[in-house]
């Protein structure tokens, strides 16, 4: 009996070995051991799960309530130390909870310019509900705050429902500054990681926040990582035994299902349950570890941060849109992008030379595929000296850009924050002379390794460095640039190839003597900000009257990046799993105020086959930022290189994107004014449907469209969930599809993925497949009127010049469309606090498509403006693809888009 057993074991080992070989290209990719885990990080390991919250007590006599602000002394009795606790009620729907040492200790706080201003002074008075020896209860609007003294705990409820508890699990901690003692444990004053020693001159100064979301089963947020939308517990099997980490890092070949933190960090978490959404934002830029566990019906979080202060915003608006609107008051809303930047971007590492640029640009016209922007990666430079050109391959960059621009398109070059240490390179010599570089712990210019070799890093945390950097982008300074050239900031985590975890040493020194430890997660946003300021400055010179909106893509990000520009999810891979995870990654960014984002279509590493490429484009057209990109060593993959059938499918997909742009741009305007996401999880739109709370395999584009990606090879069908309480229409055929709580199987072909219109919405479109957004400027609109059960629908259309800041003074058009009582009306959209739109465009609605009109024996006719009458005709839902004519279409009403009008639908 032994022999067969042994044989089985041998077979098993062989199988294991074989599977290792087969999967090695995936397994070997992410170098787990190149990055720290909690246990290898002193501040995390000495706090994770350590119950020391009972050490902290409120000193009752210290309590002062001054209208909207409560202050108290928080005492750490065993340590004989006192801290200052501040609780403030703000008018914009949040309560701010701060803990700091006494003034003068000088712990780091995130500078005000990372967030927006204005909200600080808008406060809402606390009403004292009750006070006892061990408790004070306050209320403000719908929020009720209960502060218990011994030990210190805090409980917040919203509209009578428990929303958040602090220190209820006894995990709160705040390490005060101290003097060095011989008895101090290892790791307090120095720690070493893979030959890098962090000198930690200020010693331990970590904090642990103990947050419980009572009755909440789902929490979301704290990007960036490739994982599910609803955050899984971190006490599970590997790799989910590690806390989520927020520390901006350049992670080579990241995995598609892993808690590890990637290029950007937004310390915002949202919890949702039936009837209540609550959000928190810990305004802190140091390294963080976040444990999530789900005891009983609750979700409990331990949030450990290396340095800085406790500065926690608790958003109590009650719903996801309200939470995001309040967060936007603090961190800002999405900058209204250049319209061109919502078109398709074609990128590759690298388009080799001017002839290559010409050929790729020409390829799009030859295949009648729209695109707006052609990108040049690092090889376009002279030896990775950014803002220069390799003249052997790009001898005439200005005519090249002008040629591309002559067809209404733009170009982008990459500009990274590492500066080649070369005195003959003007950027380096000027910056060195002016002292613009980050310093090492010896106060010399930090010298790290990146693409150009030895490099120094601009200290963009300094306002002076940022304004100097901004000046580098004027047309006279950036040689070979034109007003059609926009910028891509990569490697701004910052990526330092020979630094610890491929970034900068924590004891490096920034402007104002700040340690890199304190502001690491801000480096990216500050660099991004400075570059965008540069393009703004250039725009103000080129067009003094209205300027030019900057377009700068960044990889690293933080709270507030939405005000600067888009981000993308970095170096993903040409794998189905990466296509799949792109959806929860982007949904998470939308729920944390950074909706303008996208994943590289096709996957950066590796070679996608025609099917993966097709499916990725079919999903990618819904990404707010839509770019195809590929690694240096991959095979060429411009959309027409996969055979005529695939070219046709990709053409259809990209043309579909351009048709949706009026709707997408209108969604961006809502993001710009109110902080609303572009891509939304199903629960955001259906917050009472518990079965949707963890769904991340389909998503909504705005409130009107539902999309089900196909993210598996060879799929001939997919399971689709269509939420109850809405009517759904197939967006290709117009056929009404009944809602299904349980997902149901839908047949798919390679020609498309399931997309639905949600009844109750009016969606503006442009159905002429132009070569670029600029070429669409004079095209008429189509309105898709998808009726709900009451036979009603509403929607809006926002338009402006798509380029300048003229919209800020009212040069925009914003219309509301409603269909009610069989009347379609167009009225001006009014947004409180904004100048009224005054722009008149000589454009018309050429087509109105009605979905869901009840059958009428002799059909319908439209009475336009109470005067002439036109019968509704049978026609296809979309003009972009040959489809059965089973929608009811109002043909060529030529309704002026800038004016009020009414169209009445009556039975013929």
């Amino acid at each position: 009996m032994a022999a067969p057993g042994a044989k089985t074991r041998v077979q098993a080992i062989l199988l294991l070995a074989l599977s290792l070989v087969l999967s090695s290209h995936v397994v070997s990719a992410f170098k787990d051991n190149e990055f720290k885990k909690c246990a290898q990080t002193s501040f995390c390991s000495r706090n994770r799960g350590v119950q020391q919250g009972q050490n902290f007590e409120i000193v009752p006599a210290s309590l002062v309530l001054n209208t909207a602000t409560l202050t108290a002394t928080l005492s750490n009795k065993p340590a004989s130390k006192t801290l200052q606790l501040t609780l403030t009620s703000h008018a914009d729907g949040f309560v701010r909870f701060m803990v700091d040492e006494l003034p003068g200790v000088g712990r780091y706080q995130v500078p005000g310019d990372v967030l927006v201003s204005g909200w600080e002074t808008k406060k809402a008075a606390f009403k004292e509900e009750s006070r006892s020896a061990n408790q004070i209860v306050l209320s403000s609007g719908d929020a009720r705050v209960e502060l218990n003294f011994q030990p210190f705990t805090l409980a917040i409820s919203v509209k009578g429902q428990p929303a958040l508890q602090i220190n209820s699990r006894n995990l709160f901690n705040f390490e005060h500054r101290r003097t060095k003692q011989d008895s101090d444990p290892a790791g307090y004053w120095e720690e070493t990681w893979m030959s890098h020693t962090d000198s930690k001159p200020k010693g331990p100064e970590a904090m642990s926040l103990d947050l419980v979301f009572p009755g909440f089963q789902n929490v979301y947020g704290i990007p960036e990582r490739a994982t599910s939308l609803s955050l899984r517990p971190t006490n599970g099997a590997a790799p989910y035994g590690e806390p989520y980490r927020l520390y901006n890092l350049d992670v080579f070949e990241y995995l598609d299902d892993h808690p590890f933190g990637l290029y950007g960090s937004i310390p915002v978490m949202m919890a949702h349950k039936k009837g209540l959404t609550v959000g928190v934002f810990w305004n802190n830029a140091a390294e963080m570890f976040v444990d999530v566990v789900k005891p009983g019906r609750d979700t409990a979080v331990q949030w450990i941060t290396e340095s800085g202060i406790v500065d926690l915003f608790v958003f109590v608006g009650g719903s996801a849109p309200a939470v995001l609107a309040s967060y936007a008051k603090v961190a800002g809303t999405t900058a209204l992008p250049q319209l061109f930047s919502l078109g398709y971007h074609q990128c590759r590492w690298n388009y080799k030379d001017e002839a290559d640029v010409k050929a790729v640009d020409g390829g799009f016209d030859e295949h009648a595929i729209p695109y707006d922007v052609l990108w040049l990666d690092i090889e376009h430079t002279n030896g990775k000296r950014y803002l220069t050109w390799d003249s052997s391959v790009f001898p005439n960059p200005i005519p090249m850009q002008e040629d591309v621009a002559s067809r209404g398109r733009e170009m982008v070059t990459i500009v990274d924050p590492h500066v080649k240490r070369d005195h003959a390179y003007y950027v380096f010599s000027e910056a060195e002379k002016a002292g613009h570089f980050v310093k090492n712990k010896y106060n010399n210019d930090f010298d790290g390794w990146c693409w150009p070799g030895q490099s120094s890093y601009l200290d963009v945390t300094s306002p002076a460095v940022r304004s100097w950097w901004a000046e580098q982008f004027t047309l006279d300074k950036y040689q070979g640039s034109t007003k059609h050239l926009y910028i891509w900031n990569d490697m701004n985590e910052p990526s330092v190839f020979n630094g610890p975890e491929i970034t900068m040493q924590k004891d490096n020194i920034h402007f104002g003597g700040v340690e890199h430890r304190d502001n690491h997660n801000l480096y990216g946003i500050y660099y991004h900000m400075a570059t965008a300021e540069g393009l703004k400055l250039r725009g103000s010179i080129v067009n003094p009257e209205s300027g030019d909106r900057p377009f700068v893509l960044s990889r690293a990000f933080f709270s507030g990046t939405q005000r600067v520009g888009p981000i993308w999810t970095g170096d993903n891979a040409a794998q189905w799993s990466h296509l799949k995870v792109s959806v929860p990654m982007l949904l998470t960014l939308g729920l944390t105020g950074l909706p303008y984002s996208g994943a590289d279509v096709g996957g950066f590493f590796g070679n996608p086959d025609a099917e993966l490429m097709t499916r990725w484009y079919q999903v990618g057209i819904f990404y707010p930022f839509f770019r195809g990109h590929a690694h240096l060593e991959t095979q060429r993959r411009e959309p027409w290189l996969f055979g005529p059938e695939t070219t046709a499918r990709i053409r259809t997909a990209i043309r579909g994107r351009y048709a949706m742009l009026p709707y997408i741009y209108t969604l961006f305007r809502a993001a710009n004014t109110s902080g609303l996401p572009i891509l939304r999880p199903l629960w955001y739109e259906f917050p009472e449907a518990e079965e949707l709370f963890a769904v991340d395999e389909e998503f909504m584009l705005g409130s009107a469209m539902l999309v089900k990606p196909v993210s598996a090879a060879g799929a001939s069908s997919v399971d689709v969930t269509l939420p109850q309480g809405a009517r759904w229409y197939d967006a290709l055929t117009g056929a009404m599809v009944p809602p299904r709580t349980k997902s149901h199987r839908v047949q798919v072909t390679l020609d498309g993925i399931p997309v639905y219109y949600r009844g109750g919405n009016i969606v503006p479109r442009r159905e002429r497949p132009r070569r670029s957004t600029a070429a669409q400027a004079n095209d008429p609109y189509t309105l898709v009127v998808a009726l709900d059960d009451k036979g009603e629908a509403a929607g809006s259309l926002y338009a402006d010049d798509g380029r300048t800041f003229a919209f800020t003074r009212g040069d925009y058009l914003h219309r509301d469309f409603t269909f009610k009582g069989m009347k379609l009306t167009s009225t001006a959209h009014q947004e409180p606090g904004l100048p009224a739109g005054t722009l008149t465009l000589p454009l018309t609605v050429e087509r109105v498509v009605f979905l869901g009109l009840p059958p009428a024996r002799r059909g319908y006719k439209a009475v336009i403006g109470g005067k002439h009458t036109v019968p509704l005709e049978a026609g296809p839902l979309s003009m972009l693809a040959a489809q059965a004519e089973n929608a009811l279409v109002l043909r060529k009403p030529d309704l002026p888009v800038s004016h009020d009008w009414t169209v009445e639908i009556v039975a013929a």
Binding site: S195, S392, W449, P452, E633, Q635, P769, Q776, N778, E846
Partner: protein, 501 residues
């Protein structure tokens, strides 16, 4: 009868009137746009619409045929007449989009674009003239290949009949010259030996002492080797402390190298690029490498193409001047004679080889042996990471940086039309089999390899331009095209002069 006839006439006139004014209509399809009966039938699909819906800026036909002159249909086709240049079919999304596509400007509103057709035509003609000149040059080069190949073969033919005999004769000559030389060299060496003998005796004592030392060292080395062999036979002995000891010794010999910051930077950079030099290469180096693209020769045949008049198959070393003795002594002269004889024999043997290869071998050098010029030629193409090298009639390799090249194929032959050169049976590729390489060839001014891709795993390809693939027929076609264009331009200019446009 007369009334009916008149009606038909009116109908025809109307139809022509319609056709003449339908914007963007392809004249080949004019019969569809007559407006007969006041309706238009979509060209495919059979749907009928009122004729006034043609070009009304709303798409009614699924095939886009009702809107040849607007952008309303996603799949419409706009016809540019482009008088003075050449007509063009334009996708209708490009109509009225603010960008001039037709050189006559007809795709945009009047006055927006201006007519660039004559200029476009002129540019086109100039380009054509340049192409013709290049073609002529390339054909001249090609003719040179063919003539040289013929001359070369002819020479070989002349030699072929007597080569065996010539070699036999020359072998005798060599033997004789060597014998003479041997006699003289023997005498010389005897004389030197006598002189040396004395000196050797003096040195012997010292040498003996040295030898004793060397023997001792040898004995010690043998002992060490035996110990190592024992350790290998008994692995237990090599584990634990001993192995540790060994490693330590090794480290001492070559102290363990702590990664420098630069090395770490390069290592991390190479994760992305697989190129240890990717980060931090000065731009000038990169430019230097770019310049190496092109053709070189590892053998003699092609090299000599560049030295007209010289014999093609001389091996350089055969004429090595360093091997000539210039002392003028009898021994020196004998040496020169022997050397010359050997040289002549080597040449004959080379001729014999060439006769076997080029006259009697089965290598196909193409029509008129036009590819004979490629024999022993190698072409290289530098890509970002890889350098491809194709040595015709031999093999092709792919090399990364300074690593050893991988053989991606051995010479297999040309495709039937001589437009592809195949190399097969290269180094094994895991799960795929032997690598293979193909070179897509086309007519060009010079021999130049470019690109270099791996469209499927371990299947490589590159492109090569060569004069060998240029043909007279194509040149004639180009000349004909130019002639037509010139005639056409004359006509258009005359029309313009007569104000007919």
């Amino acid at each position: 009868m007369g009334a009916l006839f008149a009606l038909v006439l009116v109908g025809l006139a109307l139809a022509q009137g319609h056709a003449a004014t339908i914007r963007g209509m392809n004249p080949d399809l004019a019969s569809h746009y007559t407006g007969a009966g006041g309706t238009f039938a979509c060209i495919t699909g059979g749907k009928k619409i009122p004729f006034e819906r043609v070009n009304d800026d709303y798409c009614d036909c699924a095939d886009g045929s009702d809107e040849p002159g607007t952008s309303a249909c996603h799949n419409g086709v706009f016809y540019c007449r482009n008088l003075g240049h050449e007509p063009r079919l334009l996708a209708s999304p490009f109509v009225d989009d603010g960008i001039c596509d037709c050189c006559d400007g007809a795709d945009e509103a009047k006055g927006k674009c201006g007519n660039r057709c004559l200029e476009a035509g002129a540019v086109h003609r100039e380009a054509l003239k340049a192409k013709i000149a290049q073609y002529e040059q390339a054909l001249f080069t090609k003719a040179g290949y063919i003539t040289k190949a013929a001359n070369f073969k002819q020479e070989l033919q002349l030699k072929a009949g007597t080569i065996a005999e010539d070699i036999a004769k020359q072998t005798e000559v060599v033997a004789k010259a060597k014998a003479e030389l041997d006699v003289l060299e023997k005498a010389e060496s005897d004389r030197i030996a006598a002189e040396e003998a004395k000196r050797a005796a003096d040195a012997q004592a010292a040498e003996a002492a040295l030898q004793a030392q060397a023997d001792a060292a040898e004995a010690a080395k043998a002992a060490a080797e035996k110990a190592a062999a024992d350790a290998a036979a008994n692995p237990e002995l090599a584990t634990g402390a001993d192995a540790h000891q060994e490693r330590k010794l090794g480290e001492e010999a070559k102290p363990e190298h702590e990664e420098t910051p630069e090395e770490r930077g390069r290592r991390i950079a190479s994760q992305w690029t697989h190129d240890p030099e990717a980060a931090g290469v000065p731009a000038s180096n990169v430019e230097g490498e770019e310049g190496e693209d092109g053709e070189h020769h590892h053998g003699d045949y092609a090299q000599d193409q560049h030295h007209d008049g010289e014999e093609w198959h001389d091996d350089d070393h055969l004429d090595d001047p360093l091997s000539t003795d210039t002392t003028g002594t009898p021994l020196g002269e004998a040496r020169n004679r022997a050397h010359q004889a050997q040289h002549d024999l080597d040449r004959l043997k080379k001729d014999e080889e060439n006769i076997a290869l080029f006259l009697r071998g089965n290598l196909n050098f193409g029509p008129d042996d036009m590819f004979l010029a490629f024999h022993d030629s190698c072409f290289t193409s530098h890509q970002t990471r890889w350098t491809y090298e194709a040595c015709f009639f031999h093999k092709a390799t792919q090399r990364e940086g300074h690593q050893a090249p991988v053989t991606v194929g051995r010479w297999y032959g040309f495709s039937e039309d001589y437009k592809v050169a195949h190399f097969t049976g290269g180094d094994e590729c895991w799960n795929v089999g032997p690598r293979s390489f193909s070179v897509q060839m086309s007519c060009g001014m010079e021999n130049r390899m470019s690109d270099g891709e791996e469209p499927a795993t371990c299947r490589y390809q590159a492109k090569l331009t060569t004069p060998a693939l240029c043909t007279e027929a194509e040149l004639d076609g180009l000349k004909e095209e130019l002639h037509k264009l010139e005639e056409f331009e004359k006509e258009v200019r005359e029309k313009i002069a007569k104000d007919e446009l």
